[in-house]
Structures are given as C-alpha cells and as structure tokens.
Amino acid sequence: MNRNGVTIDETFAEAFPMKATRILITAHNLEWARHAAVAATGFATSVIACGCEAGIEREIPASETPDGRPGMAVLIFAMSGKELAKQIERRVGQCVLTCPTTAVYAGIDEGEAVALGKNLRFFGDGWQMAKMIAGKRYWRVPVMDGEFVAEETTAVVKGVGGGNLLLLARDTDAALAAAEAAVAAMKKLPNVIMPFPGGVVRSGSKVGSKYPALGASTNDAFCPSLVGLVKKTELTSETRCVMEIVIDGLTEADVGAAMRVGMEAGIALGAAQGLLRISAGNYGGKLGPFHFHLHKLLAGGAA
C-alpha cells in the first residue's frame, strides 16, 4: 500500500493487556496542576524499568472538574493491578501531595478500587479527616498551604499497552517532523497516552539479546548504522532514520484510533517531506492478543 508516496507495510502492531487508571489532578491554576502531572508522570516511559507507563491525557477545564479548578487528566498503565497500586501511591504521594495547592480525584468510576488517598492520609498524623460527599469518600490532610484533598480510591480497568508505529524517514529532520506531527494528532484523542519523551522513542527494541541477562535489546533490523552488517535489515540507503511511537490506551479501539490518526498525520507530510515508510513492531503475533493491522486501520476497518 502506498499513500502520498509513503509505503505502508502489510504488518501489524502487537499489543498487550495492561491495568490502567486515570487520575484527575486539580490545582489553584493550570500551571500548578501541570507541575504535579508532569512530575507524577515522570520516569514512566516503559514498564521494563519504570514500573509503569504514564502520561498526561489532556487538560481539564475548570468547569469539568469536581472542585471547579483547572486540572490535568493523567493515565497510568502497569502490568499488574498490584504494581499499578504501588505506582499510584508512590507517584501521587511524592508528586501530587507535595505540589502546592493540588487535589486529586479518581478519573474512572467503574472498576476495581485501588487506594488513592486511602494510605496517603496517614501523612496527616491523626489530623486527617474523611468526608463522604455524594457517595464518594475524600480525605482532607492538613499541609502547609491548607489541606490536601484526595479521593479515597480510584478505579482500575483493563487497558491495552504497546500499540506502536515505526516511522522510516529520509533523515533526522524528516523523521522528527513526522513523529511530532503524528504525536500531535494522537494527543487530540481521549483515553490514550504516548509515554516516551515527547511521545517518541528512538531505541526500539527486539525480544532477546546475546546477553542472557537482558530480555530485550536494540532492534538491529531498524538501525541505520547496521545496514550491511546485520544479517537482515529493514532499511535501505533511502531510509536513514527511524522513530517509533508507542501508544497505551484504555481500550483496543482507542489505541487503534490513535494509530490511525498518527499514520494519517505522517501520510499528510508524505514522501515529499521525507517520510518514506510506515511499519509497526510485533513478535510474530504469538505474545500479545491485540493485533493492529496497519492496512485495516487505514481502510477505516477494525483493528
């Protein structure tokens, strides 16, 4: 398949089930809500070593938040509910509780409840107070700028992690431009995050390594510096720079939609802007239950 000079591989992205939650952080103004959200989603690019994958989903206008202040919606994904609960507690405890003027609420109501303010309340050293309002339990923890209000729990749902696109471009400028355009388009959609820096990862990985201790290693087939050296390369002298975008979403449809708009944004730039090929990463289809076929996505069909 070729669109606007861009070759779309007949392949698919392979994605995995994850556990996910959304939390809503509000603050005195958007600036401070963003500080908390950025900190809470820091060092959360990959579950390989971060414990979770997290990102800012969107800004929430004051008119839509529980307390009438501007806020940020954050999505957090982990491989198990237990790990997710641990990450929520650490991140909210260290990055939201600590951030001036913030409050934190569950962003999802339906699902298994895990602690949000439930354990952080003990910071109050006995001065904390619970409050039931409209069927939800909140904790009020005294802090130096007043009080930190946190909903007791947030809900965990099943999510989909590891949707991805590989953008093969003529050079660094073209690859970055295509990736930035794709991420910008994806960010407009709800229920998805792109956890890597700026949404983009340049160190795509394959399963396994020559070193037994490592479970993953550099995706040599897509490394331009190894063309001619490795047994099998995906690159040519035309495609000299590759960027990957990883997408985590609350549902399979959300990830598929993000991949579609990302591809469309890249195609809009086209070969004229240096994007030559779009591919995706998979493991032969045996590891992950979710397969996102690029051709089907572009045809508007289901993944």
Binding site: D67, M129, A130, K131, M132, G146
Partner: protein, 269 residues
C-alpha cells in the same frame, strides 16, 4: 404491582408500632396476608386489618394514609423501595433505615432518622427532638444516607451522628449536632444555643443567620476552598438556601476543643 395503600381507619387508642411494614417486606405478600401482619398496639400484637384498610396499588409504593401521629417506627429498618406517610407521624420514623426512599408529608415526632444508615428520608414538616441521633443508650447516631427536614428541628438534632448528610430547611433547636462524631449537617434557618456541643469531627454548615459560637471553638486560620467546593456543590442540589453556597464565602470555627474535637462550624457569609 406489589404496592399497597394502607389507610388508618381511626385514631388508635394506644400507640401503634409499625416496624416490619416496609416496601420490601410487603412486596411478596398478597393483600390478605398483609391484613394478617401483626402490629403492636400498646403492649399487644393485633392483626393489621384491625387498624388499616388494605388496598393493592398499581405501582410499587407503600402508602400510609390517615391520622398517623400515634404510629411509631414507620419505615424502621427499611431496606429499599418507596414508602410514603401521608401526614404527621409518630416517633422513630425512618429509624435505622438502610436504603430506599421514605417520605413523610407532615411532622415527625421524636427520634426520626435515629441510627439511619442509608437511603433518603424527607420530612415535609417539623421533626421533634433527637432526630438523626442515636437510640437511647447507643454510642452512634445517624451513620449514612440523606435526611431532609423541610420544617424546623427540635433539640439535640444529630446527637452522636457519625456519617451521612442531614439538611434542615427551617430552624434548629438547642444543642444542634451535640457530640457529633462526623458527618454533615446543614441548616438554613436559625440555630438554638450550644451548637456543636462536644463535637469531635464533622461539618455543620450555617447557610442562614450566624449561630452563637461557644468559646470552646477556635477560629480557623486557613480556608478550605477545595473541600468547600466539593461539599457545597453537593448540598446545592437540594436547593433553597443551599442552592447558592458554592459562590458564597464563609468563616470556619474548629472544635469542640473542650472535647478534643477537630470538627468545623462553617458559617456562610
């Protein structure tokens, strides 16, 4: 459908104890069985048909009609459904109710909503003393649900209340929220003496005239704007004097420090 209209034939000679007459309990019964249900009359148990006429309804509502002011324990421990008492009722209305909707169209006497744990109880008239409080001798009062009093409340409203939300659209008597353990009480009208006497935690919102605050409360230095938005927006759905709370300023008084308390009196400006 499974609803009934029970009409009191005449004012009973003694107090009637109507515990057990809940929408859930009656839903599975036919009219003839309902007529045989035992009802306490003084110290005797007599069939319900001695006092009430029973008529099946086309909906699921249990409706009590007549001069009910000698009928106690209406909606006692009810766990769902809709019960309407079409007039003034006796003591313990909605006591220990767990769920469902109980509507009293007139006045409720003493101990209404005592130890209420869930559901919604609306009293269109006044309530007597010790509403939303504990049963005599019990440690905890109202512990959940929503109580709406459209009229005035007597003394000791919310005594030992632990959780839930109680709103009074009229005035409240003395010792409002005495020994409050936690929960929310909101008052639209005037409060009597000694508000929050011995309260431990919880919030009392004064949407109308400022009450006389005991010296055992301390003025709060810090505002609580986030909490106030959450609470006031929830109270606003009940309308009346509570409808505009979110946009109004307030002062807080913390206590009752005489009892080691850290509750709050929220006096809306």
């Amino acid at each position: 459908m499974s609803g009934f209209t029970l009409t009191l034939k005449a004012t009973p000679a003694l107090r009637l104890d109507l515990r057990g007459l809940t929408p859930g309990a009656l839903a599975a019964l036919g009219a003839a069985e309902v007529e045989k249900l035992p009802v306490g009359h003084g110290n005797a148990l007599e069939p319900l048909a001695e006092f009430f006429t029973v008529a099946a309804r086309s909906d699921d509502t249990l409706l009590l009609q007549g001069e009910l002011s000698r009928c106690d324990f209406i909606g006692w421990q009810m766990d769902g459904g809709t019960l309407i008492a079409d007039g003034a009722v006796g003591d313990y209305a909605g006591g220990a109710m767990k769920a469902g909707t109980l509507s009293v169209k007139g006045r409720a006497a003493e101990l209404a909503a005592c130890e209420m744990a869930g559901g919604t109880l609306t009293i269109e008239g006044d309530v007597g003393d010790f509403a939303a409080s504990a049963l005599p001798g019990s440690m905890d009062g109202m512990r959940g649900g929503t109580l709406l009093v459209r009229g005035n409340a007597g003394a000791r409203f919310g005594d030992r209340m632990r959780r839930g939300t109680a709103l009074i659209f009229g005035d409240a008597g003395d010792f409002l929220a005495s020994r409050l353990v936690a929960g929310t009480i909101a008052l639209a009208g005037r409060a009597g003496a000694h508000v929050g006497y011995g309260m431990r935690r919880g919030s009392i919102v004064f949407a109308g005239p400022a009450p006389e605050v005991s010296a055992s409360f301390v003025p709060a230095v810090a505002a609580a704007p986030v909490f106030w938005q959450l609470l006031s927006r929830d109270l606003a759905r009940h309308g009346g004097a509570f409808g505009s709370l979110a946009s109004r300023g307030f002062d807080r008084h913390l206590g009752d420090v005489a009892a080691g308390g850290k509750g709050e009196l929220i006096v809306v400006r």
